[in-house]
Symmetry: C2
Amino acid sequence: MRIYLAGPEVFLADAAAIASAKRAICARHGLVGVFPTDHPDQAPEDGEPGWYRLYLANEAHIRGCDALIANLTPFRGPSADPGTVYELGFMRGLGRPVLGYANAAAHFGSRTLAALGPAARRRADGAWEDAEGMAVEDFDLRDNLMLDGGIRAAGGIFETEAVPPAARWRDLTAFTRCVAAAARLLRGQPASTSSA
Amino acid sequence: MRIYLAGPEVFLADAAAIASAKRAICARHGLVGVFPTDHPDQAPEDGEPGWYRLYLANEAHIRGCDALIANLTPFRGPSADPGTVYELGFMRGLGRPVLGYANAAAHFGSRTLAALGPAARRRADGAWEDAEGMAVEDFDLRDNLMLDGGIRAAGGIFETEAVPPAARWRDLTAFTRCVAAAARLLRGQPASTSSA
């Protein structure tokens, strides 16, 4: 079974090393990890711009996988990388299992308030909003409710791990738990080993 | 035909007024606009937490629509609202038309560099990266390439409009162009009226 390894590590200079490490963990669980930068099986159409070839290659990779594990570690703000979030939604739209992890302990509401800083203000009903009058979503979830909800609806898990700042993009503790859970899901077992 | 109106306006105190304005524009093009906060057709399951009922209602709304128009105006950072991005990917995963708009003239690369400010630095090859060593995607696109690519692959359009800051969440000029394009797409015509 093949697992698409979505995440913004593609932006790191040593993305290939991280891809190898993730693939090795997948292999230990009997799974084939597919990284966004892997060479596509089909050559893209001639004449398309380079960025669109990348898109088409990623879409084909996702369609060719049985499940997806998204690195949803906060990226340049309180929420996850938008490309990764798109891929998470896409795979859920295909009806296949999705799982996620974030190397961050704080939940989405508190991360958003921290990012807004003094710009955050209270509405008359006590809810927080930003300087444009937009409410701060605060359900004590790991990210925007659509991300948490999609993972839950797909039977997946959303793991978090508090790691030192320097390890944010390289610690694979929570990722490894997701791989084990994906392997269980793909065997028809519950993703979580807890009694919940 | 029904159009799902994805976007972070749900966070505004006057979201209902914006929903009405968007629905009216859809109606002028013979389309039914479905807003995330619309009452779901099916009652959610008892015993689920409130946030997850919201997720299930939105997923059901999207599944019940023929196309999606996403408000991809930059939200608390250089990229779009993650919930909206998830929904864009989800609808593309369902194989139905997606379109998007942003009330912002600057492209994604320059918005990202502006958000990073002095934290942005040059790699040896001249590419920009952030303080964590992650490259700044710079394809002169409107957002992360997965968003632009999904819209292109679906035959949609990604419209932008420069609007005054105070009008960012309320100007419907680019949205209106998307509705007209969605109506064309759903009639089997190209979304764009240009020769491209």
